[in-house]
């Protein structure tokens, strides 16, 4: 072994994992402006949901305790967008797999973790960008934050944490399915019910008794209720109970649980992958 390789090898460990992860984040973010169809449709889809629910269905959905439906809706739209972004994570990852570039990464002396950590970091940043556009849309249709800057940032922080958890779920989905088309199908069969069986569009009071606990404990409901509470938007919860009283804590718990499940599953799949 030459001295040069020896010196470079000692550079491994946590420092290399972070630095390679950041290089991969750079790579993933560089690509974003060049694949506009990816984020344009993500944004348009969310705006369509805003318009449909604010102006079409919203009138038929009474809020227990009153309040503006639009203000009720927007935090749900943010949460929904972040959940759907898991599909984008999965699809971009399977795309990389199908193009063979993951094999090149696997042949390089880089940290093994960097492909996945770079993917999830980049997707959190990407979600942040989308969120800004949606917040501006929300402001345009009458959504407002009624609390202080700190609470506002707290809500944004929760959304970003949740985006990180969803990105890991997307990683696992993508590696489990391995083709972009199948990923697209599977993501929506999984992600649609998760967002609709929640308090995103409709207050949980209207649900049948047996279904209500499912919707209340749903991580998407927790996130939505937490941001509504932090921003002073209408937050009509059915009854007392942990989800109603501690949505912020529940969201953090869910983030920890989801990352603890999907990150190891994703990493294991990636490691055992030798097609």
């Amino acid at each position: 072994m030459t001295t040069a390789t020896r010196a470079r090898l000692t550079n491994s460990g946590l420092r290399q994992e972070v630095s390679d992860g950041l290089i991969m984040t750079w790579r993933n973010l560089k690509r974003v402006p060049r694949i506009p169809e990816l984020w344009i449709f993500a944004i348009l889809q969310s705006i369509m949901f805003v318009l449909l629910f604010a102006y079409v269905f919203g009138g038929a959905i009474p809020l227990p305790g009153g309040g503006s439906y639009t203000e009720y809706l927007m935090p749900g739209i943010f949460a929904q967008t972040i959940v759907f972004a898991a599909a984008t994570t999965a699809i971009t990852l399977t795309y990389d797999l199908s193009k063979g570039i993951i094999d090149r990464f696997r042949s390089l002396p880089m940290a093994r973790s960097a492909v996945l950590s770079g993917r999830t970091f980049a997707d959190v940043v990407y979600n942040g960008g989308i969120l800004i556009v949606l917040m501006l849309t929300g402001l345009a249709v009458g959504w407002r934050v009624h609390t202080d800057v700190l609470s506002f940032l707290g809500g944004v922080g929760l959304l970003m944490l949740f985006a990180f958890a969803m990105a890991w779920m997307g990683v696992w989905l993508g590696l489990a399915v391995q083709t972009p088309e199948a990923t697209q199908q599977l993501s929506f069969t999984v992600l649609f019910p998760i967002t609709f069986l929640s308090n995103v569009f409709v207050p949980t009071q209207t649900l049948p008794d047996w279904l209500r606990p499912v919707a209340e404990w749903n991580p998407v409901s927790a996130l939505t209720a937490a941001t509504r509470q932090l921003w002073g938007n209408p937050n009509p919860f059915a009854a007392s109970g942990f989800p109603a009283e501690h949505p912020i804590e529940l969201t953090v718990i869910w983030v920890v649980v989801l990352v603890a499940i999907f990150a190891p599953l994703g990493v294991l799949r990636y490691r055992s992958m030798s097609r």
């Binding site: 390679d20 193009k99 063979g100 090149r104 042949s107 390089l108």
Partner: protein, 285 residues
């Protein structure tokens, strides 16, 4: 190939690359090797320069080193004009050159090329051959797999012929060709009924064993006297009034080697078993 490049763990046996074990010292191997070909790719949505910077960084160069190396490689591979365009806009030949350049961004001692010219037009292929020859001249050890036996002939010092996953012959191109013998004369007669007489004339003129492809009406004999034997044969056949469709003096190619070793041609055996038939070629310095 996938085992040597640490993409796949071997089911059985051991392998070392540059003195490192492919299972236990995979990361060391990744530092000294470059991989290009059907298993590795570049990023279509990055520019040529960004791709090279990315791979340079992942070879653990600093940003400054990676950028300098990228500029060097873009110049060397005649991609400088297209450096800041996304790879999506590149032609097939440009992509292949960038792919090879990416494998070189860490200045590897050992280079693995997996069918580097598959799908390239003849000009692109000759260009790649020039580049690869240059790398070997500068001291890089090269292991290349190819379906084109002509390519192995051009680029490799040592060749291993692989059929259905097993090495069936190895040696230099000349050694392998010597196994099938020297030059041969091939004659295709017009009329089937002339075949026996033609064989008689041919074996007398060349004093060798003949081979007959009855369906194609083709007779092959060794040509010990080279071009003189050919002239003799033409004269004899003409005097005997045997009409011929085609006549040629053939030097053995690696295709002949493959055929005579396996009893089937490289192309015919290929479908179904992707890695079954390949000529591995190695150039050591």
């Amino acid at each position: 190939m996938r085992v040597f490049t640490t993409l796949l763990r071997p089911d059985a046996g051991r392998a070392t690359v540059g003195g490192f074990d492919v299972v236990h010292q995979a990361q060391e191997i990744r530092h000294i090797m470059g991989l290009s070909g059907q298993y590795a790719a570049v990023d279509e949505n990055l520019t040529g320069r960004e791709n090279l910077q990315l791979f340079g960084r992942l070879y653990q160069l600093t940003w400054a080193e990676a950028s300098r190396r990228a500029a060097e490689l873009l110049e060397q591979f005649e991609l400088a004009d297209a450096a800041d365009r996304t790879v999506k806009t590149y032609s097939g030949g440009m992509r292949r050159r960038l792919d090879l350049a990416s494998a070189l961004s860490g200045q590897p001692r050992i280079l693995f090329l997996d069918e580097p010219t598959t799908g390239l037009d003849p000009r692109g292929r000759l260009g790649m051959w020039d580049i690869i020859r240059g790398l070997v001249r500068e001291g890089t050890t090269l292991l290349l797999t190819t379906q084109y036996l002509e390519e192995a002939d051009e680029l490799a010092d040592k060749i291993a012929v692989v059929d259905h996953g097993r090495i069936i012959a190895r040696g230099t191109a000349d050694e392998l060709k010597a196994k099938v013998g020297g030059e041969r004369i091939e004659v295709v007669v017009d009329h089937r009924e002339d075949i026996p007489r033609a064989i008689e004339l041919l074996t007398r003129a060349t004093e060798g064993e003949h081979a007959l492809d009855d369906h194609m009406r083709r007779i092959t004999v060794p040509a010990r006297g080279g071009a003189r034997s050919l002239v003799q044969v033409v004269r004899d056949l003409d005097e005997a009034g045997i009409a011929i469709d085609d006549i040629a003096l053939r030097r053995p190619t690696l295709d002949d080697v493959f055929l005579s070793l396996t009893g089937h041609s490289a192309e015919l055996a290929a479908p179904g078993a992707k890695d079954a038939v390949k000529a591995g070629a190695e150039t050591k310095t």
